[in-house]
């Protein structure tokens, strides 16, 4: 058996849907309040029926904190990918359509973004903006648009000479109208695939930045910040580290599988294969 579009699409879609439902219905799914329900009498209880994932050093229920942490991860993932897509598509479409000096400027910027590893760039931005949800969205939303920009640019270049684009031009459509109403719908497939895969990357980056202490700060629950707290107690309280990591893993796995599955449907020539 091979992981074909079908099965990876459905498994991935299922995992992502589950994560989204958990995030939306967090107050109903969680057993206790994620921050306030600290009780030192219940500290460091291993997983059992009452606390399915155990409790941490302050006696907070890990399961409830993970449920709420889904909100942070998904918010950061979705919002930052919207930013990246908007920046990448706008720059890529205009650069490919207009060409000339603007194209050179955008290509230069893209190369610049490729040369700085996006985690390092995001780290620098977080250092300037300070920790917090909004800073995370900004830092991750500004640093990985180069891929969608390249795809958009390449697609415009190949579509520009097609009859229907010429026809739109003769009808007197403005450049921007042509780009966004004639070209964009034709490249939406690959862009959705990139955004889905990028969302997984953003969730991993959020976790990494929070782990370093630059993202979401404790006590507010994010999967990365929970791991950051758990690291020092790995020897004595290992379940603290296991479950937030599994939550990250299954969410990102879901997004990656979904992206692969969507690619088989939306982008059969595979301009977006991760190379």
């Amino acid at each position: 058996m091979q992981l074909k579009g079908g099965s990876s699409l459905w498994i991935g879609g299922g995992l992502v849907a589950a994560a989204i439902l958990v995030a939306i219905f967090a107050p109903w799914i969680a057993l206790t309040d994620p921050v306030m329900a600290a009780n030192l009498m219940n500290a460091e209880i291993p997983p059992d029926w009452e606390y399915p994932f155990g409790t941490d050093a302050q006696g907070r229920d890990i399961y409830s904190r993970i449920v709420y942490g889904a909100r942070v991860s998904l918010t950061v993932g979705i919002a930052s990918q919207i930013c990246n897509s908007l920046i990448g598509v706008t720059l890529g479409l205009t650069a490919g359509y207009w060409g000339g000096w603007w194209d050179d400027v955008v290509s230069g910027l893209t190369n610049l973004m490729l040369a700085i590893p996006s985690l390092v760039f995001a780290l620098a931005i977080m250092a300037i903006l300070g920790p917090g949800l909004l800073s995370l969205v900004v830092a991750l939303g500004l640093t990985s648009w180069s891929f969608s920009c390249r795809i958009a640019r390449a697609q415009v270049l190949s579509l520009k000479s097609q009859g229907y684009i010429q026809a739109a031009r003769i009808l007197g459509y403005s450049d921007l109208r042509i780009m966004f109403t004639q070209v964009l719908p034709n490249i939406l497939g690959p862009l959705i695939v990139i955004a889905t895969l990028g969302m997984g990357g953003a969730i991993l980056a959020e976790a990494a930045l929070s782990f370093l202490g630059l993202g979401i700060r404790p006590p507010f629950p994010s999967w990365g910040s929970m791991l950051s707290e758990a690291r020092d107690q790995i020897r004595t309280v290992p379940w603290l580290s296991v479950f937030p990591g599994l939550a990250i893993f299954f969410t990102v796995l879901g997004l990656n599988l979904l992206g692969d599955g969507l690619r088989d449907i939306l982008d059969p020539q595979s301009t977006t294969r991760r190379t």
């Binding site: 992981l3 230069g108 610049l112 780290l123 250092a127 990494a208 370093l212």
Partner: protein, 311 residues
């Protein structure tokens, strides 16, 4: 070969200048400076006169373009400035970090290439087989792992529970300390390489020249060795290069987790201490490494694929 090299080098200089300008600009809008940060941590207050003198000494009051120009001239002569915190030259701070960083990155890449390329290759030779399925499930899982969590789990299993390897630190810099961080760092590139190699080998196996080679009676082994490997290599080298180049930057979290004394952990510490010269130095180092590896990859293309010479 020389033309490729010259073209690459001509690209590197403007990229480096642009990166440094970007970092410089970013950190110049930073609200808290290193000196005000010293006040804010509340442990001690600094006499305003002393602060004034320190600002002057560090040149923080000069206009931005002047500071940038000065900095770039210094960088060009190999002087990365003085650390705000330790008062040591940044080149010295980074200098002692480069070797551990390189060691980690090379070890991670060695792991990624040896495991990833082998898995991808075996998977492609028997598409749909058990090996293929297992390799591809492993690969997509590897892409979805968060490096530091994987590292933490490795640490728990192999260091704390089994006690086979040291849990963190550089130790004497030997192999035992290197294994866990290298595997944690290499698992992502490994997964990507497995997928790429599989796709590349499958593509080549379906190519016309492979069919021709088979139909003229070439043995399967020779077909694979002579035609498939060589042609699949170009794509694999691209991914190796891209991953390799960005690995020093990606290593920040793993280095922090394993208390590995590399450039990445220096970067994180310097960011926390708002030690701007050190931050700039680290980013410069990471970007230079990326560009250097990419240049090597471009040269490798020419060596692998003679057709590229004529383009």
């Amino acid at each position: 070969m020389l033309i490729v090299l010259a073209r690459r080098l001509a690209n590197i200089v403007p990229t480096v200048v642009a990166v440094m300008a970007l970092v410089f600009l970013l950190f110049s809008v930073l609200p808290g400076s290193f000196i005000s940060g010293m006040n804010e941590d509340g442990r001690s207050t600094i006499d305003p006169a002393v602060m004034e003198r320190m600002r002057k000494e560090m040149g923080l009051d000069d206009p931005l373009p002047e500071r940038f120009a000065k900095y770039m001239i210094n960088v060009a002569t190999g002087d990365l400035g003085t650390s705000f915190r330790t008062r040591e030259p940044v080149t010295k701070l980074i200098g002692v970090r480069v070797w551990p960083s390189l060691k980690l990155v090379f070890a991670a890449m060695l792991f990624a290439i040896s495991v990833g390329v082998t898995l991808g290759f075996l998977a492609a030779l028997r598409p749909g087989s058990l090996i293929d399925t297992a390799a591809m499930v492993g690969a997509i899982s590897g892409l979805s792992l968060s490096q530091f969590w994987f590292g933490l789990m490795l640490m728990y299993l192999f260091a704390l529970t089994l006690g086979w390897l040291p849990s963190f630190g550089y130790g004497d810099g030997g192999l035992r300390n290197l294994i866990l961080p290298a595997v944690a760092l290499g698992v992502g590139p490994m997964a990507l390489l497995a997928r790429t190699t599989r796709a590349a080998v499958l593509d080549v196996l379906n190519a016309d020249f492979v069919r021709t080679a088979r139909s003229k009676g070439m043995s399967e082994r020779r077909v694979v060795e002579w035609h498939v490997l060589r042609n699949a290599l170009v794509l694999v080298v691209t991914i190796v290069g891209l991953q390799f180049g960005s690995l020093m930057g990606q290593a920040v979290v793993v280095e922090k987790l394993f208390a590995w004394p590399g450039v990445g952990s220096l970067l994180v510490d310097s960011v926390f201490q708002r030690d701007m010269p050190a931050v700039q130095g680290c980013i410069l180092m990471i970007v230079l490494f990326f560009l250097f590896i990419n240049t090597l990859v471009d040269l490798a293309y020419v060596a692998i694929d003679p057709r590229i010479r004529y383009r």
